[in-house]
Symmetry: C2
Subunit: 283 residues, 2 copies
């Protein structure tokens, strides 16, 4: 496995692989790799001949007061995970490599970035789409892999790729969960043991929601109330949002119909956690 | 010469050329080709092995009330010019090919798009950078060619390519002029013979400005006043702006220093015309 810190090194190594006819896969990450990332890497190793993992805590997707400084950076452990998983190249640039000057060019996606996490994190998705564009342009992958846990991010990136004719495929892999049901996330590290137990309630609330919809409930307001009530069984959990939206447009629904995304964001202690389920409903 | 109407055809033809080791050049145009475009094509034919000209009147760079509908579309004549100039592939997509759904993803460049033409055309550059990104992603050129006549556009596109790590080089070619000094432009077609004579005054005003600066004038206000006075010798000419800016940041200068852009936009009858000069000054 090679580790590159510069854009020039990445271009040269990926160019050589492409010259040998290799199909190139990219897993963009902010490091602090966990079993969720490993599942993306495994999908890439399975589909592609040359797998690149980028490790870059992207400052432009953090707002003021967010956890940019606190974000975990266990670089040696990350490299070990990548090597074990069969990664060919890790791209780990310094911030000055990715943003050598004040950044003036941005990629934005309208509408899809406004609801859900977009409300509380107004510059977040602009940072995500811009850094993904940069990484796609640097690496030039045939396929890039994202996790369903970040459902809105996956929807936004897919729309960006389609609208801007970016020459790659986006693959979205299922959410990986701890035995308790808690979606794995780098930010779970911020939780105490007790908070981690309590956080399992997020998934339980979504499973209850699934049962409710499968039992025939169609009113979004009633579904949201039920999820909120379940979440509030843990008093330390602060709800940022619970919403029932169309899985493609991310617009709030009054009545569930078609492919529906139920998405949740909460705070427990220092951690902001998100989770979701997608359901195929009638109508 | 091949003519492609679909993205799939372009990708296939350019992919085949690249597979044969060809260096690919792109000249993005809105058609109505003139000697300015031909000079870009000649530069591309000179530098590259496979030259693509795109012909697409991009609706997203026209504001309400602008000349989208009136824009000339002499398609057969354009094809003849391309064939004669040694173009390998013309990409002439329908609007539905470029914008099959409502476009939600945009590329924007801050600051550089605000002064000069940005003031009177607030959505123009967003349309330009977005369609250029799409064309770059569709064609995948090694080099793309732009004209110095559209100085702000060239500066904005270069910054977009740098900030977003787009894997291509931007070449800016000198402004081509009619014998009278008038910069060639598709929009010169909107002029009557008399207006075309009068429009030569734009270049004369910039040449007077050059002499003034070369004679030692450093105060932007005095330079602008002189250019305006010269332009106003033609009463039918309506001045949109005259500005003296830093050629890289496009910020207005009080005192000329370094590489300076003097840029003009006027209206004569139905035509909005722009022109500029770049001067290396002391300081």
């Amino acid at each position: 496995m090679e580790v590159a810190e510069t854009i020039a090194q990445v271009r040269s190594l990926v160019g050589a692989a492409r010259g040998r006819g290799k199909k190139v896969g990219l897993v963009p990450t902010m490091g602090a790799l966990h079993t969720g990332h490993v599942s993306l890497i495994e999908a890439a190793v399975n589909d592609c001949d040359f797998v690149v993992v980028s490790i870059f805590v992207n400052p432009t997707q953090f707002g003021p007061g967010e956890d940019l400084e606190a974000y975990p950076k266990p670089f040696e452990a990350d490299l070990e995970i990548c090597a074990k998983a069969g990664v060919d190249l890790v791209f780990a640039p310094a911030p000055e490599q990715m943003y050598p000057a004040q950044n003036l060019a941005w990629v934005t996606v309208e509408r899809l970035t406004e609801p859900l996490c977009g409300r509380g994190r107004p510059i977040h998705f602009r940072g995500v789409t811009t850094v993904c564009t940069k990484l796609f342009n640097i690496v030039g992958p045939d396929v890039a892999y994202f996790g369903q846990k970040d459902a809105q991010q996956a929807t936004v990136v897919k729309r960006m790729v389609a609208d801007l004719n970016m020459p790659l495929e986006i693959v979205v892999c299922p959410t990986v969960r701890e035995p308790s049901g808690l979606a794995v996330s780098s930010r779970n590290q911020y939780l105490s043991d007790r908070q981690r137990e309590e956080a399992a309630n997020i998934h339980k609330s979504l499973e209850e929601c699934r049962r409710l919809i499968e039992a025939g409930e169609t009113q979004a307001a009633r579904i949201i109330a039920k999820v909120r009530a379940k979440l509030q069984e843990v008093p330390s959990m602060e709800i940022e949002y619970v919403d029932v939206v169309d899985a493609e447009t991310l617009e709030s629904l009054e009545k569930v119909s078609g492919r529906v995304l139920v998405a949740v964001a909460v705070r427990i202690g220092a951690a902001r956690l998100i989770d979701n389920i997608v359901l195929e409903t009638g109508g």
